[in-house]
């Protein structure tokens, strides 16, 4: 118990004083097998990164909801959304048919062995990040109906 408390205290002190803001430097593959350097994606525009999986219902709800208004978002803020699938080899073959079946217009990236998920310390998904010039400027985990509107307000602040 003592150790736990020590760990916890260390943590609360440190977490109060700073927050992670660099996006981890990492290479992820697109559905077409092309490599993308994460640091490069937010060079010219504000970017949203959403960690999701084919088996995660709130994740799919969030991306469905954003998909409905995505064109308006792009028109207004020039934002680009990268939907990073954390599906492992059990479910990764579902990603492409699901994305097309749902007519999502996002760029899909694959994090099959969860390297990005681990580096971001995301123990639950969905995890949504807003990235500007390689820095994480906003972070939210979980999805509740309608929270895509709050996400858009945040995007507008940074674009």
């Amino acid at each position: 118990m003592k150790t736990l408390i020590t760990l916890f205290l260390t943590l609360s002190i440190t977490s109060l004083s700073f927050s992670q803001n660099e996006l981890p430097s990492m290479e992820l593959k697109t559905l077409e097998g092309k490599s993308i350097q994460l640091q490069d994606i937010s060079k010219d525009q504000v970017v949203v990164i959403s960690l999701w999986a084919t088996w995660c219902v709130p994740c799919k709800n969030e991306l469905d909801a954003i998909s409905e208004v995505y064109d308006d978002w792009v028109d207004e803020t020039n934002v680009k959304l990268y939907a990073v699938s954390v599906d492992d080899s059990r479910t990764v073959s579902r990603v492409k048919p699901l994305v097309n079946g749902k007519s999502w217009d996002f760029t899909i990236l694959l994090d099959t062995n969860n390297d990005l998920k681990r580096e971001l310390g995301a123990s639950t998904i969905p995890l949504t990040l807003i990235i500007k010039n390689g820095k994480i400027v906003y972070r939210h985990s979980g999805y509740t109906p309608g929270s895509e509107e709050a996400l858009f307000e945040e995007i507008k602040k940074h674009s």
Binding site: L7, F8, P97, R118, G142, S147
Partner: protein
């Protein structure tokens, strides 16, 4: 003492700058923090005695004696970046005063479990220490962490990834698997090559054409067992597979609308054991068998429609870094696995559709029952969106998802007297699992949406309940219906109601369930849920497994508090399962990242 080391590492950089001026100190401190990132997670539970289900009881006798009702599994991960290209990281885990129920019992106390140092530039990525890696689809090698199952098989050793051009990458690695707080006896080495043939050949007609090849070797010393009763009966170690060489090849081709992913792997000759039922299974002398896996996925997708189908055949594909972990019954917690062969069925998220779950049957058992050599089967997934404005699509659209899977034992004949067997290439043996399910998602208006889900499944009874196959066991056939609806209100509030029903004539018979969730705003939500085994033949065991709780999320921090009863049985994450005993209690989950 390792805990002190962790704290010391944290504090050291701060202390060592004592000679600087106040201002300098501050900048250095800020810089230090800027380069530090990490995460913390704790899952604590206070087990209570339940006046219906009975008193709290730990199935591990040694833990039961300690009678600890309050327990927590905690994880602290830290990564520190320095000199542009370097990262140093560590993970400390604490299971105090004991691990949560049904976790690997060797997780006891607090330890520094993972540590690494990494150098990375455009072409090179070098790691010393613990690392996670996956070759292809993981049929031969995958190291990963799944905290909910207590699994972390990170390799400790070294890894070099080299990407000389944009169409070629090579990975070489060496290490020992993490097993609890310890590491495997066996050494694992691997080599993996990926070539983007589309770039090399310059094929314009294809959207993807990748080729990959892997080698994975495992080497572990063998000391021949001594026969206590007959010292003259010595174990003949000729041809004993101390080193197992395995290979895999894969192709991913994508024509745009049509795609094919395929992988073939061959595991070198490995040992097998005598029957578990006789007690103390022994390695069968002189009988060594190789294994193989075929994975073939193909699909067709256009906008609004997607279909994919997967076929997989596994024969003798359990691959472990410690020989002793393959001994029947010796590894209920699934430690030390080199490869990853999960059940290829749909991962369901409704509580009643998580009662009867399939687990992949990869190992070879010659002497158990009539013998088993592997599994064969497949699944099909389909996604379709009805167009908005069409009759079924309505104003806001309608989405349909369907999935079917079928798995059976690989057909094989066993000669148990001589400990040999013959398997068929593409012949299906005894049926183990069949599942047909579909889901319709309909948005009625801006505020209302609903989901209807149906599932029909049949599964080998012992496999579903105990997690192991018994030949010709009766099948459990069940039908599950779920309906849920969500109503959105202003200000981020919403309400979700979910009703479930499972009907079956076997095992515990019928179940009914319901969940009501209220979202106050995007940060705060509450729920109540119950599943009720009203069909149980024994009236005294028609239990309610109720749960209620709430969660608060802000930025990178999430706190959830929950009170209720946990149904006992197989608990699975991503196709990997462990058995959890029934329990009641209060749980607190806290996660944060910084």
């Amino acid at each position: 003492m390792k805990k002190t080391a962790v704290l010391f590492l944290l504090i050291l950089p701060i202390l060592s700058f004592s000679q600087e001026t106040e201002e300098e100190k501050e900048t250095i401190f800020k810089e230090f923090l800027n380069n530090l990132s990490g995460s913390f997670e704790t899952n604590a539970q206070w087990y209570v005695n339940d006046n219906v289900l009975g008193d709290f009881d730990d199935p591990i006798p040694e833990f039961e004696l300690e009678n600890k009702h309050l327990r927590a599994n905690s994880y602290l991960r830290l990564d520190y970046r320095f000199l542009n290209n370097f990262t140093f990281g560590l993970q400390a885990e604490s299971y105090e005063p004991l691990p949560l129920l049904s976790y690997f019992p060797e997780y006891k106390g607090t330890e520094l479990t993972n540590y690494y140092i990494n150098f990375k530039n455009k072409k090179l990525d070098i790691t010393a220490g613990h690392f996670y890696e996956q070759f292809g689809s993981g049929l031969l090698l995958r190291t990963f962490e799944e905290r909910q199952l207590g699994l972390n098989n990170a390799l400790r050793g070294g890894r070099i990834k080299y990407t000389p051009t944009n169409y070629l990458s090579v990975t070489a690695l060496y290490g020992n698997h993490r097993i609890g707080f310890d590491h495997s006896e066996g050494d694992v080495f691997g080599l993996d090559l990926n070539i983007d043939l589309k770039e090399v050949i310059g094929l314009e007609g294809l959207s993807r054409f990748n080729f990959g090849a892997s080698y994975v070797g495992k080497s572990e010393e063998f000391t021949a067992p001594v026969d206590e009763f007959d010292p003259n009966n010595t174990f003949d170690t000729t041809d004993f597979p101390e080193l197992i060489n395995s290979y895999a090849f894969r192709f991913d081709v994508d024509f745009g609308k049509f795609f094919v992913n395929t992988e073939y792997s061959l595991k070198g000759e490995d040992i097998s054991f005598t029957a578990a039922s006789l007690g103390n299974p022994q390695i069968i002398e002189g009988k060594y068998f190789d294994g193989s896996a075929i994975l073939f996925t193909t699909g067709y997708t256009v906008k609004g429609f997607g279909v994919s189908s997967t076929f997989r055949r596994l024969e003798n594909m359990s691959f472990s870094s410690d020989r002793d972990l393959v001994r029947p019954g010796n590894n209920p917690f699934g430690m030390g696995s080199i490869n990853f062969t999960p059940a290829l069925t749909k991962q369901q998220d409704y509580s009643l559709s998580n009662i009867y779950l399939y687990q992949a049957q990869s190992p070879l058992f010659i002497q158990n029952f009539g013998g088993q050599a592997g599994e064969i089967g497949g699944q099909i997934d389909m996604y379709y969106s009805f167009k908005k404005g069409s009759t079924i699509g309505g104003k806001y659209g309608t989405k349909v998802t369907a999935n079917m899977s079928y798995w059976s034992l690989l057909d094989a004949t066993f000669d148990q007297d001589n400990s040999t067997y013959d398997s068929e290439l593409f012949k299906f043996g005894e049926k183990l699992y069949k599942d047909i399910n579909f889901e319709i998602k309909k948005k009625w208006s801006k505020e209302w949406s609903s989901v209807l889900f149906y599932q029909n499944l049949a599964i080998n009874k012992n496999l579903a309940i105990e997690g192991s196959y018994i030949p010709n066991d009766e099948a459990i056939t069940s039908n599950i219906i779920v309906a849920e609806t969500t109503r959105k209100f202003s200000g981020g509030r919403s309400m979700r109601l979910e009703l479930q029903h499972l009907s079956t004539d076997e095992d515990l018979k019928n179940w009914a369930g319901g969940t009501l969730e209220y979202v106050v705003n995007r940060n705060l939500a509450f729920y109540v849920a119950d599943i009720y085994n009203y069909g149980n033949d024994n009236k005294d065991e028609q239990y309610h497994y109720y749960n209620f709780g709430g969660s608060y999320t802000k930025g990178a921090t999430r706190v959830a508090l929950n009170y209720g009863r946990q149904r006992g049985g197989l608990f699975c994450v991503g196709g990997v399962c462990r058995i959890v005993p029934e329990n009641t209690g209060l749980s607190l989950n806290l996660t944060t990242a910084f």
